[in-house]
Symmetry: none
Subunit: 190 residues, 4 copies
DNA sequence: GATGAATGAGCATTCATTCAT
DNA sequence: GATGAATGAATGCTCATTCAT
């Protein structure tokens, strides 16, 4: 119901009707409306958190690139598995109230920290370009989120594998091929 | 009020109190609560729409790169100029209800169309990498949105110029420097 | 629970929890919430009813005065024995609903009738002053009730014997020593 | 409505219907259901508080006895003037919840203090019998309350003036004429 | 007999909207 | 045009009661 109607438009009546239980039963399992919503989000966050696997440069069986792609694949896969919940995450949970916004921010911050550390590690190994890792993190997460938002909200039909490949390509190469910008170390390559 | 409390938590009472008008006066100027919100969003969209300037490869005075950066700069600048409204755009307007989600989607679609055309043009000129322009559009917009979301919602302190530079760098080069991926035309560069 | 929280605030949940039985078990023994309350009150009334002993002026072993004091003592004692129940009687049972108010009224009416008859008997014997016995009854009961209310509700610390003595003194002599009032037969005594 | 049904049984719907206003209008003037009840009680207390006039033994125009009777008359009159409110005071407000019980207790305590001081003054003047003034206060208030309770709740038909006279007589002389009790200074008079 | 999960009628409260002044 | 008192539809939540196990 939250995915279909949004948090406020989803009435308890609809929720319990959809669940085929009585109103009172609902309150037996959830403190209040917010609680069930919070649980959905928390569980999604937990599931999502388990999707990440730390990149191991020493891994002999898989290249760093493969491991990164595997991570992207897992995240995309987890989120597309249950689209209703992903819709809730990307849509209903946003701007619900300051407390919830904080919750979201905290989650993304944690994910961001993981990603940032990976980027920092990657820079040492030379597999991540120079630059502010915090910015990379934000931009990367944003790109990922928007991609999934479009798929889930607009029904953008696209194979999971294609999504993964395109994201990876974007992260690898960006999309612009201009090289006269003021960006620090960029040199004319040809 | 919408920025401070969110759409639902912002009560008409608070809005009229903040505006120093009577409750009835509000309804003289706005059909209902949704109307004022819609107007805020519409105006923001209009302002934002005017920020874009079509990239002209023939322009003798500015390189394509400069024009792209100029576009990024204008968008970022417009959105950071009125952070309250940007907060509304990125937060309150999301997931408000299906009708509003559609509105957002339509706007981003229009922006996306513009961007996509630019990407397509750019590909012909060789300033945009090969690949699905729709995907590039989505990922680019996502990166941009997240960046601004972080600045506006989390108070990420950052110079506008730095933001612009980092976004440009990200779009130009991505962040990964791995080159053994399965991505189509990517060839080992060294 | 009724004494601690009052009738409405005492939830079945709390009652069964305190009784260490399941909710269903409760309804095995009591028709409904009101029934258990009614039983408590009825039992208290029964116990209280048994406290009264008819004053016998012929009794050679005890003076009328002693017998009256004994009655007061028994009532006070019975009510202070189980303060929780007394609290219920004097507080929760009042104003619960018209039906219950009637019940209370009926009980006090019965007690009143007993007391009134005693007063009437006493008048014949010259141990009760002239006047409306119904009024005496009401005023006597009121004085008694308030005394116990203060002890039970406000924790007025006071020896049972003192309470009994003071009540007896009050009933015997009143508290005023003015003698120029318009009250019928009152004559200047000294 | 509170007088007719009791606090809990009086539904907001009934209250607003009786007041011929809309549900919302009610909440414009009262925080919640409890607030209107509290206001009724507070106002009644205030009115009641103003009924008392300090007894002045120096008053050349009225005897102490007259002044006391005047006080009783005022209290009885005030309470019988608005029987619905008196019913609320004596019935609904009792045992509503601990907070309200405290409120009642505090009021009676204040009244009691006034009365107690009067009794103490009276003892010095010899118009109040020896004994614990606190007890006298409690017993006096109880007698008064019960009298009014019977009139208001049971519709005991009785002239105000008769009520006043009987109460005064009771306070003056008590009702018992036994004089062999254990009460301190009581001596056998015949 | 005991249990406690499920029930749903019932109710206080909120708040966007109206309209007489 | 401006006002703000009045409105009442809408809804989240409670809690006494039931009944299958």
């Amino acid at each position: 119901m939250f995915a279909k109607r949004g948090y406020h438009a989803a009435k308890i009546d609809e929720i319990v009707a959809a669940a085929n239980v009585a109103r009172g039963t609902f309150y037996l399992y959830f403190e209040d409306k917010r609680a069930i919503f919070e649980e959905i989000v928390d569980r999604a966050f937990a599931r999502l958190g388990m999707s990440f696997v730390r990149v191991d440069p020493e891994d002999a069986t898989r290249t760093v690139s493969e491991q990164i792609q595997e991570n992207i694949r897992r995240i995309v896969s987890t989120l597309l598995e249950d689209r209703a919940t992903t819709k809730i995450l990307l849509s209903d949970a946003v701007g619900l109230d300051p407390a919830f916004d904080r919750k979201l921010l905290v989650f993304y911050e944690e994910v961001g920290r993981l990603l940032e550390e990976s980027f920092a590690d990657g820079q040492k190994l030379g597999v991540v370009s120079e630059g502010d890792t915090k910015m990379m993190t934000i931009l990367t997460l944003g790109a990922l989120k928007e991609m999934l938002y479009q798929v889930v909200m607009r029904g953008l039909a696209m194979e999971e594998e294609t999504i993964v490949a395109e994201i990876f390509r974007f992260l690898s190469k960006g999309c612009l091929r201009v090289n006269d910008g003021p960006v620090g170390s960029v040199t004319r390559s040809a």
